[in-house]
Symmetry: C2
Subunit: 103 residues, 2 copies
């Protein structure tokens, strides 16, 4: 299994409504991508100083599933419609994950 | 539950040995912090272009557990001994997590 982590910083013009719309779109997108074993997305809780604005954590079975998810038309659509215009900075990484290691 | 995500970019002088030593130190650290429900750390698998160099994902029960982990002396020690000197950039965020939502 692979854990894909991404965090995002928004441009100043992004509103709470934009963020709610993005979360709804990402959640709907995730439901369309069978390769996603699990998926969480939302605004940073900001429990510590200096963090990013938003984050996504996705679990897939392997490398093919990761590409299927990230290259999925529904993913590209959310980027084109919403996220692309919100983005100031992005940080992403993938880690290997064994079953039950994150719970 | 809270998922804490952090990803890191290293300064150019960081070696594979530095990274192995860091992963060993973080793994040993995590074993000392009972507030960590689960913890994974390692170099980015780099399955997609343009990612960060390293990532950590940690799950804690709540906000008190998050602070207990991040303010733990063993965490500060790894930072002082290893990570602090390796770091060029860092991105972090926390997301709410429900039981079994990331597996």
């Amino acid at each position: 299994m692979i854990l894909h982590l991404a965090s995002f910083r928004w441009v100043d013009s992004v509103t709470d409504e934009d963020i709610d719309r993005l979360t709804a779109a990402l959640t709907a997108m995730a439901a369309q991508i069978p390769e996603l074993r699990s998926y969480v997305a939302g605004p940073n809780l900001h429990l510590r100083p200096g963090g990013m604005d938003y984050a996504v954590a996705a679990v897939v079975d392997g490398e093919a599933g990761l590409h299927a998810y990230l290259d999925h038309p529904a993913h590209a659509q959310v980027y084109a419609d919403l996220m692309g215009g919100m983005l100031a900075d992005r940080a992403a990484a993938q880690l290997p994950l064994t079953e039950g290691s994150l719970a």
